[in-house]
Symmetry: C2
C-alpha cells in the first residue's frame, strides 16, 4: 500500500503505535515524558518547568510557492508555524534549530532574506537560534525544531484532550483571513490596497499567539490547539482527543470585514475550512472564558459549545446558521498524502 | 552569487554572523547559551545539567541512494549521525523529533522499515522519539533533531576549540571503513562474505560512540569532534577552532584488515579522507589519553600530535609516512554546495 492510499493520519497512527511499543519506562527520558506524539508539542518534565518541543517543515511546491511568497516572508512563516504550536500549549519558546534544503543555484541573497525574516520573529518572540544544518536538495525545504517550556510555576499546559461538555469554544483573532490571502495570491486577484495588504499579511506573516496562550492558561483554560488545518479540522482533533462533540454558531465566527468585502458569501467557508490562520482554538468553562475575554488585549470570541458525545465520530461537529439550520463545511482538513 | 559559488561553509558563516548580531543577552535563552552555531551541538545551561541539541538531515540523492541502502538501514543511520554529534560532545541523548519528507508513492511498509531501524538504535541508546512530522515531498528526506545533556555532574563537554600544543591526537575504532563500504556498494564490487558484511555494516549502520565520548570526558579529555566529513576535514575543524596545527603519522592510522584486503594501497586515502565513519576524534594531554586507553573496552588509537600554529591555515595538517615524507590527502572534505 502507498502512503497516498493510507493517508497522512493513517501513516502517523502506524508510526505512533510502533513508537509506543518501543517505550521503555526504565529509561529516564521515557519516564519523564508527559505527552509524546499526538498533541501540538511533545511535553516532558524538566527540573523547574515542563519542556516543550515541536518540529515542522515547509516544502517548496507543497507548503509554499516562491512565486507568491518572498524569501523573507518564508523565513518568518517557517518559524511562526512552529511557535504557534508552542503558543497552542500556552508555552514560552526558548531555542530553535533550523535545517535548510537548498538547490545549488539558490541565490545567497535569498538565504540572507530568509534568515532576515526568521530572525525578526525570533527576536520578537525571545527565541534563540542555536543550531542548524544546510543541505543541498533538489528543492527548497525549511525544517525547524523549536524547544520551549511551560510559562507558569505549576507547569500547566493546554491539551487537545481537556475539552468537557458544557465548555464554551473560543478562538483568538479572526478566521479565514489566511485562506483569503492564499486565494488572492494564487488567483492574482486585485483588491484595494488596504484589503490586499491585510490578506497578504495574514497568509505570509502569521503572528503566533504566544501571549494569548499563556493568558488562557493563567485564567484557567485547559483545552487548546492552534488553527493550522482549518477550524473544522482542528476542532475535530479536540473532539476526537476529548471524546466530545461540538456545536458552532456560524454567525458568531469572527471574520474580518476585508475578507467579507473581497469574497462575500464565500468568506464563511474560508472561516470554517481555511487553514493556516495560526489562531488559537480553545475550550473552557463559561466563567473562565469570560475572565480571559475581559483582560485580553487581543480579541477572543466565543463561537460555540462543547456537548457530550452521542453520535459517531463522523458527525462530531455541527455547524448551525442563525436560523438553526445545519451548514456543511466544504472541506474538513488537509491530508498531505492524499493526491489532489 | 549562488550558494554553489559561495560554498556550504561560506553560507554558514554568513548566516552565523546574522544570528550572532541578533543575539540579545537580556533574553534568558541567549543568556544561558554556552555554545551556538559552530560546534557539533548547541549547548545551553539547564537547571541540573547542560543541555545539548543537534539537527541533521539525510536527503535522497545527496546523502543516500535507496538502491544501495535499505529503508531499515536508512532509519538507523539517520538517527546515528545525530547521536554521533551528541557522542562527540561526550553527552547523553534524551529525546528526538523526526521530520520525514515522503513522495506520495512511497510504500507504507518502507516507512515502517525506516522506523524499525530508527527505533532499534533509539532503544539501544536510551533516546525517546517524542515528536515528528510527515510531509509530502518530491523526494525522501529524513531530518532529525536530538536533544541531550551532559552526562557528568560538572556539566563538562568536549569542544573543537580545546586542543592545545603538546596534546596527543586520538581516534576511536577504525578509519575509512565506511568509505570502503560506500565504494563497494556503488561500484557493485564483490568480496568474500565476511569482508563484504564488515564494509556494508560500517557504511549503513554506524555505531555512535556514546560510551566512549563520556569515558573521554571522565578521564580529562577536553577536545573532540566526530568524523563525519573525513579525518583530515574534521581534524581541520579542530585546528581552526583551537588555532593549532596537527601532525599525523600515517602508519599509526587504525585501518581494518578487511579494508586493506579489499582496497590495498587505496585504504590509506580512505582512512585520511573517507567520511561517515562516525568515530570520535579527540586530543588531550599524553597522560590523559593513556588513562582513557587503559580502561576503554573499545579501541582508542593515538595517531599524531598537536603543535603550536606557525604556518597558515592551508597547511595546518601535516601527514607523514614512516620515513618522515609528507603525504597529501586526495580530498580534504565535503562541501554540500560545490558542484561535482
Amino acid at each position: 500500500m502507498k502512503v497516498s492510499e493510507l493517508g497522512q493520519f493513517g501513516m502517523i497512527d502506524v508510526v505512533a503505535k510502533m513508537i509506543e511499543e518501543s517505550r521503555d519506562s526504565r529509561v529516564d527520558s521515557w519516564h519523564n515524558l508527559l505527552d509524546g506524539i499526538g498533541d501540538d508539542c511533545a511535553v516532558w518534565k524538566g527540573d523547574t518547568a515542563n519542556q516543550l518541543a515541536k518540529v515542522d517543515c515547509q516544502v517548496e511546491g507543497i507548503h509554499f510557492n516562491l512565486n507568491i511568497i518572498t524569501w523573507e516572508e518564508l523565513g518568518w512563516k517557517s518559524l511562526a508555524v512552529n511557535l504557534s504550536d508552542i503558543a497552542s500549549m500556552g508555552g514560552l519558546p526558548c531555542y530553535a534549530l533550523v535545517s535548510l534544503g537548498l538547490p545549488l543555484d539558490t541565490q545567497v541573497e535569498d538565504v540572507v532574506q530568509l534568515y532576515k525574516g526568521l530572525l525578526k520573529l525570533a527576536k520578537q518572540s525571545g527565541t534563540a537560534i542555536v543550531g542548524g544544518n544546510m543541505s543541498s536538495s533538489p528543492h527548497v525545504f525549511v525544517d525547524i525544531t523549536v524547544i520551549g517550556k511551560t510559562g507558569n510555576p505549576a507547569g500547566k499546559y493546554l491539551t487537545r484532550s481537556a475539552a468537557r461538555p458544557g465548555d464554551k469554544i473560543g478562538v483568538t483573532g479572526w478566521l479565514g483571513t489566511s485562506a483569503a490571502g492564499l486565494e488572492m495570491l494564487t488567483q492574482k486577484l486585485e483588491f484595494e490596497a488596504q484589503i490586499s495588504a491585510c490578506l497578504r499579511q495574514a497568509f505570509t506573516q502569521p503572528e503566533p499567539r504566544l501571549a494569548e496562550g499563556r493568558l488562557l492558561i493563567e485564567k484557567g483554560v485547559k483545552a487548546g490547539t492552534d488553527i493550522s488545518d482549518g477550524l473544522v479540522a482542528d476542532l475535530g482533533h479536540i473532539c476526537d482527543s476529548s471524546q466530545v462533540e461540538a456545536v458552532i454558531q456560524s454567525e458568531l465566527l469572527p471574520i474580518r470585514s476585508e475578507v467579507v468585502e473581497a469574497f462575500g458569501e464565500r468568506s464563511l467557508q474560508m472561516a470554517l475550512s481555511g487553514g493556516e490562520d495560526y489562531q488559537l482554538l480553545f475550550t473552557g468553562r463559561p466563567e473562565v472564558i469570560e475572565k480571559a475575554m475581559k483582560v485580553s488585549k487581543y480579541p477572543l470570541t466565543v463561537i460555540g459549545d462543547i456537548k457530550a458525545a452521542q453520535t459517531g465520530r463522523t458527525s462530531s461537529i455541527v455547524i448551525l446558521d442563525s436560523k438553526g439550520s445545519r451548514i456543511e463545511p466544504q472541506k474538513t482538513g488537509w491530508d498531505h498524502f492524499k493526491r489532489r
